[in-house]
Amino acid sequence: MTNAQIIATAQQVGSQALRWLHSYYDRGLGGFDDDVTMDLANPNDIYKPLGEVALATGLLLREGVAGADDTRIARQVIDLAWAELREGDLLYDRQLRYPLMTDPLEVYVHFARAGYRHRPLEDQLATLNRLHSVRAAEQLPSRRLASANARRVIGLDQLEDWDALAGATWLGATPEPWLIDWLTAYYVTHSVFHLTDWGARPECLAPHIRDYLRDWLPAWLEVWQEVGHWDLVGELLIVAACIGELEQGTTGWAALASAQQPDGLLPKDANTATEGDPAQLLADHGHTAVVAVVAATTTLARALGGTTGASAGAPAVALGAPPEN
């Protein structure tokens, strides 16, 4: 598969995954009940997926490498998600009530990246940013990177020691690549996502980490491709794009294209049902659709030169709609 074929496959898989997502959100699935408050009973049910949908569509809008139809659909989906969060008010309330929680910040950044801003929330986050508590929070190192990158994208004062943050992760230690396991692989992919802001800042990956990924990514892709874990394969394809090794995704992209169903559903793995209750299908495979859209966007941005993908060193600029608050 040549680079042109990778681009074509990525474009097709990503576009179909986006349309599949859109079809669910457009008919009202994936939203909160009307009486939702800042005290979310289970943040992983609706809240986290809404942030992930905003991530995928926001990146698509940031990079500007999708066609007109896909761009329009992405805008519709992120509008729906922003409305579910009451245009940021729910995030504001939740952050005010729970100042040590990082999820309002981590969800907000995906909207902010695409130009959906909430000034009172940003003022609140700027105040929190000056607290020692924020950087002392007990968190997994890769999650700590997520918060740090969110503050960077939003434009808060940069008080992070990025080398120390990267060095605290499993990836930062460049350990035995043959000992990685499924969960650790997700920590690795997320470390790369946050260090590079989803491919926009490839130069923020230290050379020894980039070399390590270039050496071992093909082996990891191969292993999870063989067992049909398409969700993780998609995440590893994002890593390939973030480090500029698109050709390492050759067989991975072909495998995703084969696994994707005619309606655009990309199974998260080879074992989970792909038919049945729509809400269950969205719960099971929604994350994989997000991953596919992000993988396609970062791949196309890297190959074609998206807004950020072509210019290593350029700051991530929030694009799109004017501030709504």
Binding site: E176, W178, L179, P218, A219
Partner: protein
């Protein structure tokens, strides 16, 4: 010892284990006199890079100093095992910087005579349009050819070798896993004094071999992992870059592998290749460490390395 209900295949497999045990004993006798017995439980005091441990091989009472194989005519199963193990029979002298020994060469020659040498499509028959098959027959052809070469180096009459088998094609982005498995089948060639197109291929693609180790470990295919680790040890010993710290890889395979004598032989050879730092010609090489890697693709070709 064959039993009435033992199939020929089982009998041959037992013979391979028996002869591998002899080779292992010889290897330990030649270079690892302090090797401890194989622990029955993990030993927390074990060093990070332990010396090779002896496997449980009740049928291998031979002294390290004694002959590798019994005097007199060998039973057919033993001859079959000799042929299967091929170049590994000579691991002890080769890894000690010595030429292959005569008595073992005689047995190897007899084995090659008893069982016709494997042949594969000749090298000049391989074209880009028809790449060489990555099959077991090809591996056997290369193994037999290497055995014959070592018999020759021992100063014994070598069996007539056919045309040089086709070399494996270069690995590609799509088929490197299959390529690495094919290289694993050829791990018996990774010994001092053997050199040729397969070795050149290993030199050129040591990173792919290392990826193969990683993939095989993650798939829990420890036999393939051990064989590829051996190739990596060989490329490192010949001046190639150090992609992986092999000590922990070998420790892990020792802990979770199939425990066969043949696997332990593979691991011991790998350890000797990397630890002894011998080049293809059997002379000491400057050890290569991660972080101080020579340029990728650099080789330590030995001027007198024999073509396999």
């Amino acid at each position: 010892m064959p039993f009435a209900d033992t199939t020929l295949r089982d009998e041959y497999a037992a013979a391979v284990e028996r002869v591998a045990g002899r080779v292992l004993d010889a290897l330990r006798g030649a270079g690892d006199p302090a090797a401890p017995a194989r622990p029955s439980a993990p030993d927390p005091t074990r060093p990070t890079h332990p010396t090779p441990s002896a496997p449980v091989t009740p049928s291998t009472p031979s002294a390290p100093e004694g002959p590798l194989l019994d005097e007199g005519p060998l039973p057919k199963a033993s001859l079959a095992a000799v042929r299967v193990l091929g170049p590994d029979l000579f691991a002890a002298p080769l890894l000690a910087g010595l030429p292959p020994d005569g008595p073992t060469a005689d047995a190897a020659a007899e084995a090659l005579d008893t069982f016709p040498m494997a042949e594969s499509s000749p090298a000049h028959g391989a074209t880009t349009a028809h790449p060489a098959p990555l099959d077991a027959a090809l591996a056997n052809a290369w193994r037999d050819r290497a055995t014959a070469r070592l018999v020759e180096l021992a100063g014994r009459p070598a069996p007539v070798a056919g045309p040089e088998p086709a070399c494996l094609p270069e690995p590609t982005a799509g088929d490197w896993p299959r390529w690495s498995v094919a290289m694993a089948r050829l791990s018996a060639l990774a010994l001092p004094r053997l050199d040729g197109p397969v070795h050149d291929l290993a030199r050129r693609h040591s990173l792919t071999l290392a990826r193969g180790v990683t993939r095989s470990m993650l798939r829990r295919d420890y036999r393939t992992a051990a064989r590829l680790a051996r190739w990596l040890a060989w490329t490192e010993a010949n001046g190639g870059p150090a992609h992986l710290d092999l000590g922990p890889v070998l420790d892990r395979i020792r802990a979770v592998g199939d425990g066969s004598t043949r696997m332990w032989l593979e691991l011991s050879i790998t350890e000797r290749l990397s630890g002894a730092g011998t080049t293809a010609a059997g002379t000491p090489a400057e050890p290569t460490r991660p972080g101080n890697r020579p340029a990728h693709g650099s080789t330590g070709d030995s001027p007198d390395g024999a073509a396999a």
